[in-house]
């Protein structure tokens, strides 16, 4: 079985590389046989068409038909109008998930910006900066599933009096008078615990992006501000920070998308129990437990609507940067 998989892997890579080469060289030659005007008009599409085709088939058309499906019944046969929306939006589970998703969208981007920026700025001032950067960077390579295991272990709970094997509760119970907290099972802390674990996996990304942006701030400006007598904080506030505003937008956008898509970690750590559902887990259950494609499509459409403003912002930002180039 294992040998077969490795054969499949190597074969697939060989086919992809061979087919790409044959497609480009062959297509180029075929188009060269056409009249010159046609040749010039069609040639760019030789390169662009595969990407456009793939993106249309796996993203654009399915997204459009999801919106359509959200108005049909469970099997996608009969028109039910807004029933799916009415049904899911009056369901307390969806409402909890909606509220939680909003909480994720508010907390994850803001804390990721805060931590990423703090580390990027402060690490420059210490000699062990490489260790700090590596520590924050490490979890990028850890899957949400593995991170789920890591943090379930951190949040592990034993009743008061028993030996605490979870790191957080062990630290907590060192202080007299503090009881261990059932982080994941008590409704008030569950969402925060999940968001914190996600922050752990994402802050490194924010740090790297801020680090790159800080390097792009002209050094002369800092020197000039210092000579003018600005304090370290003043230099940061009035010289560095204005330069970082576009980067804050990039990081916040990326983290908002991560927050909206949040699934893996919730699925592994609580499976949406104890009031920690997010829209993705509700949708997954509608699809696979409830077998209701209409409800699942309606939940997905709600999620999509939440992303539209970010999409517009992103395209605008990109258009501006292309315009400048």
């Amino acid at each position: 079985m294992i040998a077969e998989r490795i054969g499949l892997l190597l074969g697939a890579v060989a086919v992809v590389l061979g087919a790409t080469y044959a497609y480009l060289r062959g297509g180029d030659r075929l188009l060269a046989a056409l009249p010159r005007r046609w040749h010039r008009a069609l040639l760019p599409w030789l390169f662009v068409a595969p990407a456009v085709g793939v993106v249309a088939l796996t993203l654009a058309i399915p997204a459009a038909s999801t919106i359509g499906l959200s108005f049909l019944d469970a099997d996608g046969r009969e028109w039910v109008g807004l029933d799916n929306y009415a049904g899911t939006l009056s369901d307390p589970v969806t409402l909890t998930a909606l509220r939680n998703t909003v909480l994720w969208v508010v907390l994850l981007p803001s804390t990721a910006v805060l931590v990423g920026l703090t580390v990027a700025v402060l690490a420059e001032r210490v000699r062990y900066a490489p260790v700090v950067r590596a520590a924050l960077f490490l979890p990028i390579a850890v899957s949400a599933v593995a991170a789920g295991v890591v943090w379930s272990f951190m949040y592990d709970y034993q009743p008061a009096g028993a030996a605490q094997t979870g790191t957080l509760n062990a630290v907590l119970t060192v202080f007299p008078g503090l009881d261990p907290v059932a982080w994941l099972i008590s409704g008030s802390t569950g969402n925060l615990a999940l968001i914190a674990a996600t922050l752990w996996t994402q802050a490194g990304f924010a740090m790297v992006v801020f680090d790159a942006a800080l390097r792009a701030v002209p050094a002369e400006l800092h020197e000039a501000a210092r000579l003018d007598g600005a304090s370290e904080w003043g230099t940061f506030r009035y010289v560095t920070l204005p330069f970082l505003v576009p980067t804050v937008v990039v990081v916040a956008t990326t983290m908002t998308i991560v927050a909206l898509k949040a699934f893996d970690l919730v699925y592994v750590m609580t499976n949406g129990n104890h009031g920690t559902d997010v829209l993705s887990t509700v949708m997954y259950r509608a699809l696979f437990t409830g077998r209701d494609g209409g409800i699942a499509a309606a939940v997905a459409t709600v999620l999509m609507l939440a992303v539209v403003p970010i999409m517009v912002l992103n395209v605008r930002q990109f258009r501006r940067s292309v315009g400048e180039a």
């Binding site: 590389l17 456009v52 210490v126 899957s143 599933v145 790297v208």
Partner: protein
């Protein structure tokens, strides 16, 4: 104001700082060290626990093992790798991730070349549409895609999941490569075209080799993301053990929980080793690729 600066050596090295300044750095060190600890402790706990016998994991916290040395074991790893499915799921992950990554890089590179270096109608429109799709949550595509895949008998097959990852990966690939390709000097292609090279030759022989760092960083991103993906694998590969990648296998262990922490932690470490090695090996490219993608945005 700034003219005075010239000739004055601004003290840069720390040794020359007055004690007063060094004292003011205490809060800086406190914040940085605290954050570093918060980020490292969970990993330390995971790794240490994965080497402890089950009875010890249940009885005492992982940090206590430093006081009672000698009770470390490799049994958890032997157990995890020996159990049915885990070794296979590692190979399954590779079989999903490597072809998907090669596909994304090939299709994105061709598209980025066409959209950045060639002039044609609708060029801007296509570019903006692709970038717009970058933020579309993949959840919105799941229901119709799954229906189509069921009809085509693609669910549970590697071909199906390669195509899904290709579709989800291309918008980001084009976005990332666009800025690297835009930075190429036009004279580079023009000289070759004067010499009679066709567009595909220019792309394959000149553009691809020159932009290798950007391609490598895209490959690292895609490798790590697809390796770590759970939702797509759950949905499009289904529950079958023979095709389950490592994220699905570990999440199944978590769900059963009967196995206890020692197996779970070892499994989590096993699942994280491959992306970490890839990541560490290509980290330089990765950071450079990120730079190219964000300093402009």
């Amino acid at each position: 104001m700034t003219t005075h600066v010239q000739g004055i050596a601004v003290p840069r090295h720390r040794a020359a700082e007055p004690a007063r300044l060094r004292l003011r750095r205490v809060p800086v060190h406190a914040v940085v060290l605290a954050l570093t600890a918060v980020w490292l402790v969970p990993v330390a706990g995971l790794v240490v626990s994965s080497f402890r016998p089950p009875s010890a994991v249940l009885r005492s916290g992982w940090w206590e093992s430093f006081a009672l040395p000698g009770d470390y074991t490799l049994d958890n790893y032997r157990d995890v790798l020996g159990r049915d499915g885990m070794a296979l799921s590692l190979v399954n992950s590779l079989a999903v991730v490597v072809p998907a990554t090669v596909l994304v890089v090939a299709v994105s590179a061709a598209a980025a070349y066409g959209l950045t270096c060639l002039r044609f109608r609708f060029r801007r429109g296509v570019l903006l549409a692709v970038v717009g799709l970058l933020v579309v949550p993949m959840q919105i595509t799941l229901v119709p895609l799954l229906q189509a895949f069921n009809a085509l008998d693609l669910t549970g097959s590697f071909l199906g999941i390669w195509l899904v990852h290709l579709g989800y990966g291309v918008p980001f690939g084009v976005y990332l490569l666009h800025s690297a390709f835009a930075a190429l000097p036009r004279a580079l292609f023009e000289a070759a075209e004067v010499d009679g090279a066709s567009r595909s030759q220019v792309f394959l022989r000149i553009v691809l080799p020159v932009t290798r760092p950007a391609l490598a960083s895209l490959a690292v991103f895609e490798f790590v993301w697809t390796w770590n993906d759970l939702l797509t694998a759950l949905i499009f590969l289904g529950g079958r053990r023979e095709v389950a990648p490592v994220t699905v296998a570990v999440s199944r262990l978590v769900a059963s929980r009967g196995d206890g922490w020692e197996v779970l932690t070892a499994a989590a470490v096993v699942s994280a080793v491959v992306p970490m090695v890839v990541f560490a090996a290509l980290q330089k490219h990765f950071v450079r690729g990120l730079l190219a993608g964000t300093t402009k945005g």
